[in-house]
């Protein structure tokens, strides 16, 4: 099943630890511009870490003139460095700006979720990142919506008071 990163917007502080760790793990260099997850800041105070969303019909794959990109069985994009000519077409069509062109090798790089154990998730100091499937994301959202409703009921109705705690 398709996996992706779920961001808790309340928890993300925009500290970019995910960027730093990603760059270091993938390129052995502390350079956020090389990170495959980037924290985008929209003033005055909105932060959103963005990486590959593992689209179902990825425009990057279909736009590649050299067929250098392909989707593997886990919905992750594999780049064949031998075929990639560094033309940036994939980068232009990616709706999330999640593709990085390596200036040194002239090959594009895309998040592969560190083979299912993402370093950024482990490093996030506020636990704002989580690896989920779409099903798991829905379950979590349903559960937290239900929790909110329950909290509302507890505060407004006497009947449910015993549920508290």
């Amino acid at each position: 099943m398709r996996q992706y990163l779920k961001v808790d917007l309340d928890k993300c502080t925009g500290c970019r630890t995910c960027e730093v760790v990603c760059a270091e793990v993938k390129t052995k260099e502390c350079n956020p511009k090389k990170s495959l997850i980037r924290v985008t800041f929209v003033p005055p105070y909105f932060f959103l870490p963005i990486n590959c969303q593992f689209c179902d019909r990825p425009p990057c794959v279909s736009s590649c003139p050299e067929s250098a990109l392909e989707v593997d069985e886990k919905h992750r994009i594999r780049v064949d460095p031998k075929k990639c000519i560094g033309c940036s077409w994939c980068l232009n069509v990616c709706p999330f700006g999640a593709i990085v062109l390596d200036e040194e090798t002239n090959v594009v790089r895309i998040c592969d979720l560190c083979n299912g154990d993402p370093e950024c998730v482990k490093a996030c100091p506020t636990n704002a990142l989580e690896l989920v499937t779409s099903e798991l994301a829905s379950i979590k959202n349903r559960f937290s919506a239900a929790q909110k409703l329950l909290a509302g009921l507890i505060s407004s109705s006497g009947i449910l008071k015993e549920v508290k705690g």
Partner: protein, 621 residues
């Protein structure tokens, strides 16, 4: 150099428009590290004695350090200059993301010299560096300036450090603002930028930072995380921001109230960190790579400023615009916080200038007519906000207060000098030295004047431990003795290294032990340094800063505090009856001078100067 440094200095001359790239000497780097260390060294070397701080000959040294932009949490940069507020060495540091970006662009240091005849801004895109016209930005607030430059350059991720209207109008404590609401606040760096007609510095960098031993750095970071997670004070900074401090200082009644008339503000809970979290807070914001995320974002909920987004408020502003002015309205504090950021000025000096005026008014030394007809009664909310604006615009009474409390009191005369709460011209932060007696030493001896963070004394004085100066048991805040002098000396050295490295005083200043500091520097630079060498670097930089100030006329007579602290016991709360004893204070100064190798007049002795390898700066006067 093996790691940590980019090895390049960027020098921009605004008079001639010349842009040069120079090499950073490894020997110099090992002697002074970077940040406040290299900055102070270059300031001493390049800015002659008696230079007018707002004249063409003053320079700005924007400095990163070897640890900037590495995995080790720090998003800071330091700017060093001669201060228009104090006329001595000035430095100011800011967090966010601008510092690392300068490093990623390829520079350890940026030197700005000369002065432009018309407004300009500097655009640094790796190797490409140019000065661009900024006439159209002149007069814009700091958030507006950042927004417009990002748009103009067509890049929303460009990092910008800029001044606002206060810097343009040469408010003596004008600040530099970067990353929305992060400030290099103290000593008036913004006014120096304003005097050079430099509106902003925009940076984009693509290069990374290499460290000498990546595995060791990873191990060290792991250890730092373990400590920070279990350290209650640092955790409280994450939960409540810097405003966590309000509970600590109020607890021992050392929360300066009504211009230091008291240390006990009866309504402190209305201003506290937990109150902020429950009322106005909308976001926690972290600096580059930092897990603490002490930054706050709040939104004003009512009144004429309803909807205003505030990058704060920080503890110091909660004190200066809150208790300091007898005001318990956190919303007013937040508005003032955002206004000082938008005008680009230091909220500590600005708040203290207002409380100074309020006390002069209370004592009948400042008449209503002289204060533009404003009612300067303690806690008058409208007046506090109005004065912030008048200072930022140098309008009416604001023009006088924009000079800082020391100069303003001198102009006013009438004995108002005793209500200017400053040392060497720099106003005090939110720590009452009668209730936190170690702070008396830190305030008196600080090389940039009455500063609270040249040492970590405030942590010791509130009874928290700091790993940077491990103790068997907490120190008594109400005692001034040899233990405090020893702490002052050790901490001023280590905190100076933190400011040279460049690290954050919340993360490194509390979480690091001296050995962790030495290991971090070693792992990043590849120079094997022990604690002794690190302390020695701190001592060298500290002494050099003192030597600069001695050259500008500073001596023992300036290492003091206002009369109030020696003659007026604190009236209420936990610290009731506490006062500084003049004789003890002078004895401690003697002890300090002796221990650090300065003469009885506070001048570093020649043998000490030679021992530290600073003989190139002899003779001092």
């Amino acid at each position: 150099m093996k790691g940590g440094y980019k090895g390049k200095i960027l020098r921009v001359n605004l008079s001639t428009g010349r842009i040069e790239k120079e090499n950073l000497s490894p020997e110099l780097a090992r002697k002074f590290l970077g940040g406040v260390g290299l900055g102070s060294y270059l300031l001493f070397k390049e800015v002659p004695a008696g230079t007018d701080p707002l004249g063409e000959s003053n320079k700005l040294f924007f400095c990163t350090g070897p640890l900037t932009g590495t995995r080790i949490p720090t998003g800071r940069y330091v700017v060093v200059f001669k201060s228009p507020l104090t006329s001595i060495l000035g430095w100011s540091s800011s967090a966010g993301h601008w510092g690392p970006e300068l490093k990623f662009a390829g520079y350890d240091l940026l030197i700005v010299e000369g002065a432009s005849s018309s407004p300009v801004y500097l655009w640094i895109d790796d190797d490409f560096v140019e000065l661009r016209k900024a006439q159209h930005l002149w007069g814009a607030t700091t958030s507006e300036t950042q927004r417009r430059i990002r748009k103009e350059l067509g890049d929303e991720e460009v990092r910008i450090a800029c001044i606002g209207p206060a810097g343009e109008r040469l408010v003596r404590f004008a600040s530099i603002i970067n990353d929305e609401g992060r400030a290099a606040g103290r000593c008036g760096a913004g006014a120096v930028m304003g005097s050079k007609k430099l509106k902003a510095i925009a940076v984009r960098g693509h290069g990374g930072v290499k460290v000498a031993d990546p595995e060791r750095v990873s191990e060290l970071v792991k250890r730092m995380y373990e400590v920070w997670k279990s350290e209650p004070f640092v955790r409280s900074l994450h939960l409540y921001g810097t405003n966590a401090m309000t509970s600590f200082t109020s607890g021992i009644a050392a929360f300066p109230t009504r211009n230091f008339q008291s240390g006990w503000f009866e309504e402190w809970e209305k201003l506290s960190g937990p109150t902020l979290s429950k009322t106005l807070l909308v976001k926690k914001a972290g600096c580059f790579g930092c897990p603490i995320a002490c930054g706050r974002v709040s939104v004003v909920k009512s009144g004429p400023y309803q909807g205003m987004v505030v990058w704060g408020p920080e503890y110091e502003h909660v004190n200066t615009f809150g208790a300091g002015c007898g005001n318990s309205d956190l919303e007013i504090v937040s508005i003032c916080h955002q206004l000082v950021n938008e005008y680009g000025m230091d909220g500590i000096s600005c708040g203290r200038a207002i409380s100074f005026a309020m006390e002069c008014y209370e004592k009948g030394l400042l008449k209503k007519e002289e204060a533009d007809g404003l009612d300067l009664t303690w806690g008058n909310k409208e007046t506090i906000v109005e004065l912030v604006k008048r200072i930022g615009e140098r309008r009416g009474i604001g023009d006088l207060l924009a000079e800082g409390t020391r100069l303003a009191a001198k102009r006013l005369g009438r004995g108002t000098e005793k209500y200017a709460m400053q040392t060497k011209g720099l106003e005090y932060a939110g720590y009452e030295p009668r209730g936190m007696k170690g702070m008396a030493l830190t305030y008196a001896l600080g090389n940039r004047g009455g500063c609270h963070i040249t040492t970590g004394m405030l942590y010791l004085d509130i009874g928290t431990m700091t790993w940077m100066y491990p103790l068997d048991s907490p120190l008594d805040p109400q005692v001034l003795d040899l233990e405090k002098v020893k702490a002052e000396i050790a901490l001023e050295r280590r905190y100076t290294v933190i400011e040279a490295a460049v690290l954050c005083k919340f993360f490194a200043g509390i979480v690091f032990t001296p050995s962790l500091l030495a290991s971090s520097l070693s792992a990043v630079t590849g120079w094997e340094m022990d604690e002794g060498e690190v302390d020695r670097i701190g001592e060298r930089i500290w002494t050099l800063q003192r030597m600069f100030n001695v050259r500008e006329g500073i001596s023992r007579k300036d290492d003091t505090l206002p009369e109030r602290f020696f003659t007026e016991p604190l009236p209420d709360g936990f610290s009731q009856g506490q006062v500084l004893d003049r004789k003890t204070f002078e004895e401690m100064l003697d002890t300090y001078y002796r221990m650090v190798g300065w003469d009885e007049n506070g001048i570093p002795r020649e043998e000490k100067i030679r021992e530290l390898g600073l003989e190139e700066f002899l003779p001092l006067r």
